[in-house]
């Protein structure tokens, strides 16, 4: 018979656990804000789509915007990079500061803002006449970058960040539209990341995707927040709960409640929020 006497490991249980646990660095006491939105109102003609919204969007975090259709969440998102101005007869009141810069100051070029604040849409929209590679670097080319080595490096970096490199590295010359729906959406994310924005806005980025493609995008969003501030509009409550750090609930153009996602989804302060997220609306 072998020796059945076991030597107890050295140290207390707690000491041994401490040796194996990797602790994240201590969080900063005060969050930094990427956007500071003050008394924002947006009109489409005579119709007010956003009414006096004030909120601060925390840097390197995911903020989800939820609310029923027509509540102004997409308008709010588009106001964050002046995209709403592409619709005629829009008017805006209030202030949006991006890292302290007034987005709507007369000296600011909207094109510069849209470079600093990238956007992903509900339906993936790769440029149909361009290859996968051209799609990613088109923003840089339009900005006058011609250095092939630099473009190739940025192409790989962006596709890697969008978790698409391994799937397309041998097919960079194929049309962007040859990819699956989920891959096309990640291609659009890579295209947005290629110009190194400060913020990525996402307008229901997974609503046209299957559960596996959705899971990949959600995982990607969680990874990207270490480098970018992300604001996403979603109709999917579970998705908002899974991926976001902060949640804002909009109703009839007004911001009803804004706070940490855990608080909003376990104990919202406002009755309207509670009714909406639990499915007792109207």
């Amino acid at each position: 018979m072998g020796n059945l006497v076991m030597t107890p490991p050295e140290g207390t249980v707690m000491e041994r656990v401490e040796q194996q646990v990797e602790r994240p660095p201590a969080a900063e006491a005060l969050p930094a804000f990427t956007f500071q939105v003050k008394n924002l109102s947006v009109w489409y003609g005579a119709k007010r789509a956003i009414e006096n919204v004030t909120m601060d969007i925390v840097s390197n975090a995911v903020t989800a915007i939820i609310g029923p259709s027509g509540c102004g969440k997409s308008t709010f998102l588009r106001a964050l990079n002046r995209m709403h101005e592409l619709v005629s007869r829009t008017r805006l009141d209030g202030k949006i500061l991006l890292h302290g810069d007034d987005l709507y100051a007369s000296s600011i070029d909207p094109a510069i803002i849209r470079r600093r604040v990238g956007m992903i849409f509900q339906k993936s929209n790769p440029f149909p006449t361009m290859s996968i590679g051209e799609n990613v670097v088109v923003g840089l080319r339009l900005n006058g970058v011609r250095d092939r080595k630099f473009l190739n490096e940025r192409l790989e970096k962006s596709l890697r960040m969008a978790a698409l490199w391994d799937e397309v590295k041998d097919d960079l010359d194929k049309p962007g539209t040859s990819l699956s729906g989920g891959q096309q959406q990640r291609l659009c994310i890579a295209r947005a990341l290629a110009v190194e924005p400060e913020v990525v806005l996402m307008d229901e980025p997974c609503s046209a995707l299957d559960p596996i493609a959705t899971a990949k995008i959600e995982e990607l969003i969680t990874e990207l927040k270490s480098k970018y501030t992300i604001v996403t509009v979603t109709h999917n409550m579970q998705q908002a709960g899974r991926i976001s750090d902060y949640t804002a609930f909009f109703y009839l153009g007004r911001l009803i409640e804004f706070g940490p996602t855990t608080k909003i989804f376990t104990n919202p302060s406002e009755r309207q929020t509670e009714d909406y997220i639990t499915g007792r609306f109207g």
Binding site: G241, T266, T278, G279
Partner: protein, 228 residues
Amino acid sequence: MIASKHILGTFDEALASLRNNVLMMAGLTERSLERAIKGLHERDDNLCVTAIADDEEIDQLEKQIDKDGVDVLLRFQPVASDLRRVISAMKVSPNIERVGDQATNIARRARKLNRHPPLPEIDIIVPIHTHAMSMFKDSIDAFAREDADLAREVVARDTALDKMNKMANRQLTQCMADDHTALRGYLNLIFVSRCLERVGDHATNIAEDAVYVAAAEDIRHLTVSALT
């Protein structure tokens, strides 16, 4: 307590069924506990046997509540107050089941006591039973009505029950020292008192969950002074 209708009628039905099973389980447990105590005081073995038999139905309901709770979480992914309702139903039911176990324990001790001449010290158990039972009933009321104030009051009452149990232990230990012929009987009464004290502990747990449902507050492991 659920104010307005869910857009999915099936969710309201599933949640109502879950909560009804919790309340039915509590009703059966209350009856079982009453039977055990009555069997003890009236020296009625039949009542004790019935109390012991009740436990099986209570156990089955606990399993059903767990199954239904998992089903609701899986099918509807509830959030906010709905999530708290499902979670608390699943947390309250094991505590009710443990109260049912205490009823069984009391019934078993009562059957042992019934084999020997009656002990007048059985009256020591009466106020402890009254106190523990009121805590249990009120904790269930607080859960059903989502009444955080009543639930907090139940939690605060546990200290008095602990004191009553300690006092009973002291008195019954003295009886054991004074009268060696009825050692087993006094020991069984000590166990009965202990079982009732445990009923109070479970009622406290239920009340804490009732506060979680009603006010989304976790009041576990707080001192009584911090509660008030």
